[in-house]
């Protein structure tokens, strides 16, 4: 059992996992794209512009989920000072920022043909912009503060403060009048998206989650090599 958490064992499994995801990724991507762009029907109201949903919604979910994970790990890290957690949050943050920005950009591209505008300052969209600002602050804290311990502390606090924004984003469409429509898929699992459109949405989510896993595994591997190199003489 102890052998499982042996670093060389972990390294071995990371390599295997990376190869495995690489081998299935393009097939899955092709299937998801076929469903999203060809096989799924257009919407009764929005026509083919509804296909933007298949990249917009998973991006927004991943952006939100990443920050939630970062904030929860930051809380644990703040209390118990586990250095590994800072390394994890540090590598998730750029991915989360990327997907938050993608959600905003694709949302803008979706808004123009359907709502009739690229941009409005309604509660949902504004709170998403606030989320991206928190991501940027978090990353800047690591970039600008030279002292490692202080950088971790600052970024932890930023993430914990940003956590308050997450429920605001989630419930913004229920609490206030917004141009953005309410959630289609509720927390209790009910959905107002027809199955023929839910399938490509879930496939695309799977593909993008696998992509995130791939990037994080590669970053983790890089980190292990970096640490090993530092004490190569002492191995």
């Amino acid at each position: 059992m102890l052998d499982l958490i042996n670093p060389s064992r972990i390294f071995h499994w990371i390599d295997k996992l990376i190869n495995f995801i690489n081998s299935i990724f393009f097939i899955l991507l092709l299937i998801a794209l076929t469903f999203a762009l060809i096989l799924s029907p257009p919407d009764y109201l929005q026509g083919d512009s509804v296909r933007i949903m298949y990249v917009h919604v998973p991006s927004a979910w991943i952006g939100l989920a990443s920050f939630t994970v970062i904030a929860l790990l930051s809380i644990l890290n703040f209390i118990f000072k586990i250095k590994n957690f800072s390394l994890i949050t540090k590598s998730i943050a750029p991915l989360g920022l990327m997907f938050t920005c993608l959600a905003i950009v694709t949302g803008s591209l979706w808004g123009k043909p359907t709502w009739g505008t690229w941009w409005v300052w309604d509660a949902r969209i504004t709170s998403m912009v606030v989320l991206s600002i928190f991501y940027i602050l978090f990353i800047l804290a690591h970039k600008l503060i030279k002292d490692e311990g202080k950088a971790y502390k600052a970024s932890n606090i930023i993430a914990i403060i940003g956590l308050v924004n997450i429920p605001v984003i989630k419930y913004s469409v229920d609490w206030w009048n917004t141009l953005h429509q309410p959630a289609s898929i509720k927390l209790d699992g009910t959905s107002s998206i027809h199955t023929s459109m839910l399938l490509p949405l879930m496939l695309m989510l799977l593909v993008l989650l696998l992509y995130c896993a791939l990037i994080l595994l590669m970053k983790y591997k890089t980190e292990i090599i970096r640490i090993k190199r530092k004490n190569i003489k002492r191995i």
Binding site: T114, V164, N177, L179, Q181
Partner: protein
């Protein structure tokens, strides 16, 4: 089991979070009128001294059979099923501007029942389905 340091950090964090939640709650509460992207016809009926030169947004549903187009002028009624407001607008409308669907109009209020819009945005709902399905549903209704 928990050391004194850990306990201290936990209490600091819980205090910080409670403080933050309360602060954010009050900030959002006091900003509500700014956060609301649009007012409903009922909001306008209930409010006092709303008629001014300031731009506001009114939102709701486009009333069935209320769209009237002559030349460039489009007239329609926004309803929230309790109150209604008459809107006049000249210009192009988004594709999703349809009877029975959501709409947000930006412009100036003439009086509580008459609104002059200079921008129309469409607001769609959270339901997504293929066109064949709505045809079936319409048949069912008939």
């Amino acid at each position: 089991m928990l050391t004194k340091k850990v306990k201290k950090r936990v209490s600091f964090l819980s205090l910080l979070l409670i403080f933050l939640v309360i602060a954010v709650f009050f900030i959002l509460k006091s900003l509500t009128s700014n956060i609301l992207y649009f007012k409903s016809p009922t909001d306008i009926q209930l409010s006092q001294d709303i008629i001014s030169k300031k731009k506001i947004r009114v939102g709701g549903m486009v009333k069935k059979d209320s769209i009237n187009i002559n030349n460039q002028e489009i007239e329609f009624i926004i309803t929230d099923l309790k109150n209604e407001i008459f809107v006049s607008y000249s210009g192009t409308v988004p594709n999703l501007f349809l009877e029975g669907k959501g709409v947000v109009a930006e412009g100036i209020l003439k009086d509580k029942n008459f609104f002059i819009a200079d921008r129309i945005l469409a607001k769609h709902d959270e339901k997504y389905m293929p066109p064949e399905l709505t045809d079936l549903m319409k048949k069912d209704v008939k």
